[in-house]
């Protein structure tokens, strides 16, 4: 039997931290708050590590049951946790990166008046995220799902006195609701058809089912609806619009929630439901197309952004698109691999960006930076590691995971690969653009002069310290950066593909989850273009393909280098060129700068009609003329009727008694009549 892992402690530790800080934090000193937050978060990380230590002695999947929640007829949903390889990876990523970001936040948020509140929310987020990961059924997962949404809302709107932050929080929440709606419907469908939300039971019921080919069936519907949910949470087209706005939150939040963990929940959920998706090719195709489009689309927007965090935000959207692309082509383990490496390098990038912003006194516009390389060397070098990793420079984490995805995408369809490749090029370009603009050239901002005046926005908690102009961040911020940088560099080596002489241990590790349940052999050929990918396990790829794969690797490296070169040309060598290009591409550039007017489009398509419709039809039409009128008319009728009837209420007791007696007499007569008959 399995040893008792006490999984429940992992989410509950951060919750305890949140509770302590939430209730007592206001009165406690910053040091106490820090100690509580870091201790409970670190304890969760330690628990996760201890679980992974005992990994070999476990039979998987591991279940842990706590309490009955809903018991209704045949349907039941319990509070129970579930642990397998997939959960473990997520667990380690979330607790590990989360802990590092907690540490970083200590430095970053130190001067914020609501210091305790920040850590309360952060710990709360950890609780929900871990619940989401460890859930044994969709319902518990949904708790976590909604909970992280809540935490995200609270943290985006952390500086709620600022109007843009508050509305960004609301936007995130509302857009997420759209996705949650799809998720919920999917859950209802699951309950209706499988009578359960338990992963084991649902997948057990799904496994014998064949692959749905001829059109859309039940699994396709469920899959697409799940994907809608994932789109909301993971910021995919068309629901990505909230993520860039979410950058209103403090930078550690952006790093933790909107880059490393929460936004990957969608990927995790799709991967968790892979049994369903594998049997619904149309749904898979939808996932792949959405992922691919998002990856490309967001990357192009990222090129024209000037806000350092916005660039990273669109980059995140784009990278998430990669992950979905991987899922869509059936390469779930590649998706998760990228998820992990992305957590490392994107967390790193955000934190480093935060450090930069910190250094220049709250300025986020890259055009007002430059030449920071010498001033903040630690930040520069860690950021360089992150940039190289995301750009896919060989030997770093991003290279391996992105390469794995592209290779699998090619196996599915060259179109995915091509778009992915172009995206990789653009990614490399805008990341190096950011790099060059920030760290090279001359300093263009005025932070030197105006560093400590109160004029710059109070957000990003700069405030009191660092009066000496541009300066390096404190150690407490640098150490997490370094650790993440190291991880970004070496994190990829757990999944070196066979073609590069590795044996892709990551894929093998996840294999029990993703390969135990692929459709039966006779069926997979029908999957069509994805058939090949599902047949093979990367660990044992045929040698004949190794050279091809190597070729593709070379091409993507080339694309990355090309991006670097272009960025070097435009933003280091010939700085006048970008404006010229922008001028020549007048309309298109405008469009990109304005993010393809998507927000405006949404406003026109959804928000305006909604407001107009609510005002004209629902309020002035339905509400006033139908509902209110019904109520008023009912009231009028009642009033007129009672005007007539009230004469009965004379106040005369005997009169009342007479009515009662007469009524009783009628009842008695009726009873006797009924009895006699």
């Amino acid at each position: 039997m399995n040893p008792n892992l006490n999984l429940w402690l992992i989410p509950l530790l951060p919750l305890a931290g949140a509770a302590i800080n939430g209730f007592l934090g206001k009165k406690s000193s910053r040091k106490a708050v820090t100690a509580v937050a870091l201790f409970f978060c670190g304890a969760a990380f330690a628990m996760a590590l201890s679980v992974s230590m005992r990994w070999s002695s476990l039979t998987l999947p591991y279940h842990e049951f706590f309490a009955h929640w809903i018991r209704s007829g045949n349907f039941s949903a319990d509070f129970a946790f579930y642990l397998d390889q997939l959960s473990l990876v997520m667990l380690l990523v979330v607790t590990g990166v989360g802990f590092l970001i907690h540490v970083y936040s200590v430095g970053y948020m130190w001067d914020d008046p609501s210091y305790y509140r920040f850590f309360t929310y952060l710990n709360l987020f950890m609780f929900f995220m871990l619940t989401l990961i460890l859930a044994d059924n969709y319902l518990v997962m949904f708790i976590g799902w909604e909970g992280v949404g809540l935490a995200s809302y609270l943290l985006i709107g952390f500086w709620f006195t600022k109007d843009s932050a508050a509305s960004a929080g609301k936007k995130a929440f509302i857009v997420n609701r759209v996705g949650d709606f799809g998720f919920l419907i999917a859950l209802f469908l699951l309950i209706q058809h499988f009578g359960s939300l338990n992963f084991t039971q649902v997948f057990g019921s799904v496994q014998p089912m064949g692959v749905e080919t001829g059109g859309a069936g039940l699994l396709t519907a469920i899959g697409i609806l799940l994907m809608v949910g994932a789109c909301g949470k993971s910021a995919q087209i068309p629901l990505y619009i909230w993520l860039p706005d979410a950058m209103e939150g403090p930078t550690p939040v952006s790093a933790l929630i909107h880059a490393a963990t929460m936004v990957t929940a969608g990927v995790y959920m799709v991967s968790r439901s892979h049994v369903i998706f594998e049997r619904a090719p149309i749904a898979l195709t939808v996932v792949a197309i959405i992922g691919t489009l998002t990856a490309f689309f967001a990357a192009t927007i990222g090129v024209a952004q000037t806000d350092i965090k916005k660039v990273l935000a669109y980059s995140t959207v784009s990278q998430l698109g990669y992950m979905f692309m991987a899922c869509g082509v059936g390469a779930f383990s590649a998706g998760i691999f990228h998820l992990m490496t992305h957590a490392f390098f994107k967390g790193l990038l955000f934190l480093a960006a935060g450090s930069v912003i910190h250094a220049v006194g709250g300025e986020q516009d890259m055009r007002k930076m430059g030449g920071l390389r010498k001033r903040i060397p630690w930040t520069f070098w860690t950021m360089t590691a992150g940039t190289l990793a995301i750009a896919g420079i060989p030997g770093l984490a991003g290279f391996f995971s992105k390469d794995a995805i592209l290779w699998r995408a090619y196996q599915a369809s060259w179109a995915y690969w091509l778009v992915g490749l172009v995206t990789a090029f653009i990614t490399s370009f805008y990341m190096f653009r950011l790099w060059f603009m920030t760290f090279f050239g001359d300093y263009r901002g005025e932070a030197e002069a105006a560093h400590d005046h109160a004029g710059h926005p109070a957000h990003d908690a700069h405030g009191g310290h660092g009066h000496g102009g541009i300066h390096e961040s404190p150690k407490v911020m640098i150490i997490p950066l370094v650790i993440l940088a190291v991880l970004s560099v070496v994190g990829g080596y757990v999944g070196v593909p066979g073609s590069l002489g590795g044996n892709n241990r990551f894929d093998q590790f996840l294999a029990p989850v993703f390969h135990a349940s692929t459709p039966a052999d006779g069926e997979h050929t029908v999957v069509g273009e994805k058939g090949a990918s599902e047949q093979t396990t990367e660990g044992s790829e045929p040698k004949t393909e190794a050279s091809t794969e190597l070729l593709f690797t070379a091409i993507s490296v080339l694309a990355a280098l090309l991006g670097f070169g272009l960025a070097w040309l435009l933003y280091y060598k010939r700085k006048d060129l970008p404006d010229k290009i922008a001028g020549s591409l007048n309309g298109f550039y405008e469009m990109v700068v304005h993010k393809y007017y998507i927000d405006e489009l949404y406003a026109a398509v959804f928000v305006r009609p909604l407001i107009d419709g609510s005002t004209r039809i629902l309020w002035q039409g339905v509400d006033r003329n139908i509902i209110d009128a019904a109520v008023n008319d009912a009231g009028d009728v009642a009033r007129h009727a009672s005007d007539e009837v009230r004469h009965m209420q004379s106040g005369n007791i005997r009169s009342y008694a007479g009515w009662v007696a007469a009524g009783a007499a009628v009842v008695i007569v009726l009873m006797i009549w009924a009895g006699v008959r």
Partner: protein, 100 residues
């Protein structure tokens, strides 16, 4: 030996007298007494049924009815006193407003 129906008839008669008294009497105290008359009629049927079915529980219910009657008499008469204090009449036909 007396048939059960005789007891029931007597009980019903008392009850009906109570109802009629409630309807035709004007003095609030007499009306109250009519209620007691109804209760007594019901009690008689309880006891008669208790004897008929050999179930002592019927007699126990009489006690409960008596307790309720006692409580009702106490509260009711107190109300009558306070009504009389404010209106100086016991005629229910003149006590037909909730306010003074």
């Amino acid at each position: 030996m007396v048939p059960l129906s005789y007891y029931l008839l007597l009980s019903g008669f008392l009850f009906a007298c109570g109802v009629v008294g409630f309807l035709i009497k004007r003095n609030i105290i007499t009306i109250f007494m009519s209620i007691e008359l109804m209760l007594n009629g019901v009690n008689l049927s309880f006891v008669a049924f208790a004897a008929h079915w050999h179930a002592l529980a019927g007699q126990v219910f009489v006690f409960f009815v008596m307790v309720v009657a006692a409580a009702e008499a106490a509260v009711g008469l107190a109300i009558i006193i306070s009504v009389y204090r404010t209106r100086e009449t016991l005629n229910v036909d003149q006590v037909n407003l909730l306010k003074l």
